[in-house]
Symmetry: D3
Subunit: 137 residues, 6 copies
């Protein structure tokens, strides 16, 4: 049960309805999902989040699916229940195959393990890694 | 300063040297980085981690760069200093462009924000997300 | 379902009953909430937690509502389901308005985003920040 | 050492300079801090982050200091080194007293402890907390 | 509801069945738990995880119960619902007493508190701690 | 550099000196470590933390070393730099062998991996785990 009411289209204010209409149009879906209905309690956050999300997730140097996979990997690492479900579904909708999903899980799991080992031993960063990122950037 | 000694090739045991040789050969580098020198304190972990990492990171349904980007996204989310530096360098070495890196950072940052909002409001998962993942799987 | 039995007042030991009575008296509530019933499995933790919580949360240089908002912000960041619900309710009970709640969520969300960006790029701390905190302290 | 170059005003592009000028003007500071110099590698993120941060942090239902304290609490919980230093300094600059800072630390520390206890025992949420937040919202 | 189907023994592939049989034999249980049924979607991860888990968790310099307690402490800290339940049950099965469980919770809770305080104040590491770990290792 | 001054014994208030004296006496050390010098900025937190830490860490159903290992495992998972160094040193001081340390790291690393896999797939908890913990408790 949410800590805020989920605001349905029918009872939304005109400014919220406008964002909902845009989401439905852009995504070609009959209704917005609960994330947006919850954000609608704060129209400023709703508007800003929708606007930013479109900018960030639009295909660019990284394609749409790769961005969705990254979003999912972060959501798993942050233990966000809602986000894991919504971004797993979104990744499948954007073409993620079952094989890709299994490999994503394997990479995420392995990263957690080596992250813990590196942090646990406080391993000093190799000079060549520092030089490399400085150069590449 | 690490909590364990970093074991250099010259003083390593034969079983550690064998793993180090394999890493140097596969990656075509003159010396292994500190992560492996730290793991060398526990030859079993060293052997297992190297073996698993190769399996997990080899190109498959996801290509090598995408896997590296996912690894980096998880490492940032886990605040692992060593891993952030080493996997940023690795991603550049595998062809990540500066534009891709900037987009990765934007996606990771945005995911953190919406993860926090979703978790903070305890938004219930939409039935279609549950159905979608069940079907796709 | 909890990993421990929730101990109700009726079946509690005298020392647990004494803490429960104090909680009910101080908070003017008919029964303690599940957190305390769970802690009652370890009377030492129960006693210590209740005692410390009163000291920490009593109005001082920060007022009671501000402390509750901070508690909620940490609970969201730690993804603690029980704590998000209980401290959101507590904040409302202490006078948090819906507008304040929405602004808290916006700040928490934004902090997560810039935390991730700062950590991801390993940005070095500006000397003036170090000097400032040293001076102020 | 950052994974990106820190872009100084002198070498910045006109669009980055415009944002830097605005930050310096609004905050009345002679130079922007490293966070902005790092973001300047991606002018879109720079512009968006500065714009959103101003909206989110401007005094509203919560005053500027309370928002800064919340930002700091989240930054501590996320173990973000840069953010802890910059937001501790910012909170002092906005009037946080040493006594308030100590109480903030006490609340953050206590929240971490009870978050861990609640999560560890998987304590079920009391019905009155769910009802309370639904009603209040 | 899982994001993947849980694969039951009856419908599993021969290679999955072989791992399931080994788990059932080693643990002397009539059926594998859901973790393994979920991993069975990716036979490579299933095989590797089972193999590694046996190596890591077998009694060595640390006994089986101590390892299980450590696993539980990490699972609580990572807010992993499934893992908290499964490893609490496993610890009880390996002989954890109720008193030991309560002390584990107390230590985990206290560690979270002092972790937050230390991180929040960015306390510099004492030279003797660095020297000690270097020497001991 | 800490965000607070580290308060040395010579300049401490009488109440802080009393706690420092007790720490030095109980631990048989010539000076307290930086954690306590930082906490000394808030004598209430100092007193309470020292008092609680002694209660929590004293040998009971779990011995002193096992408690220290749990503390270290949590500190690694929370990425607390200071705590990783201080509790690694403390564990060695309490008798942790190098072999035990390596096994602890292996368990912590493996737990992180399976935590991520379980969270990522949202695996439902098996009924027998719920029944087991309810019964045992």
């Amino acid at each position: 049960m949410a800590t805020v009411p989920l605001i349905d289209y029918e009872v939304a204010s005109p400014e919220v309805k406008a964002v909902f209409d845009d989401i439905k149009h852009v995504r070609n879906i009959p209704d917005v999902n609960n994330f947006w209905k919850a954000l609608a309690n704060h129209p400023d956050i709703l508007q800003r989040t929708w606007s930013t999300l479109q900018e960030v997730m639009r295909p660019g140097a990284l394609d749409a699916l790769t961005k969705e996979l990254l979003y999912l990997a972060v959501s798993i690492t942050n233990s966000c229940d809602y986000c894991i479900h919504s971004h797993t579904a979104a990744a499948f909708a954007k073409g993620m195959t079952q094989a890709q999903y299994q490999e994503l899980l394997a990479v995420v799991g392995m990263a957690h393990q080596t992250n813990a080992l590196s942090t646990g031993m406080k391993i000093p960063v190799d000079p060549q890694f520092l030089a490399s990122t400085a150069k590449e950037s």
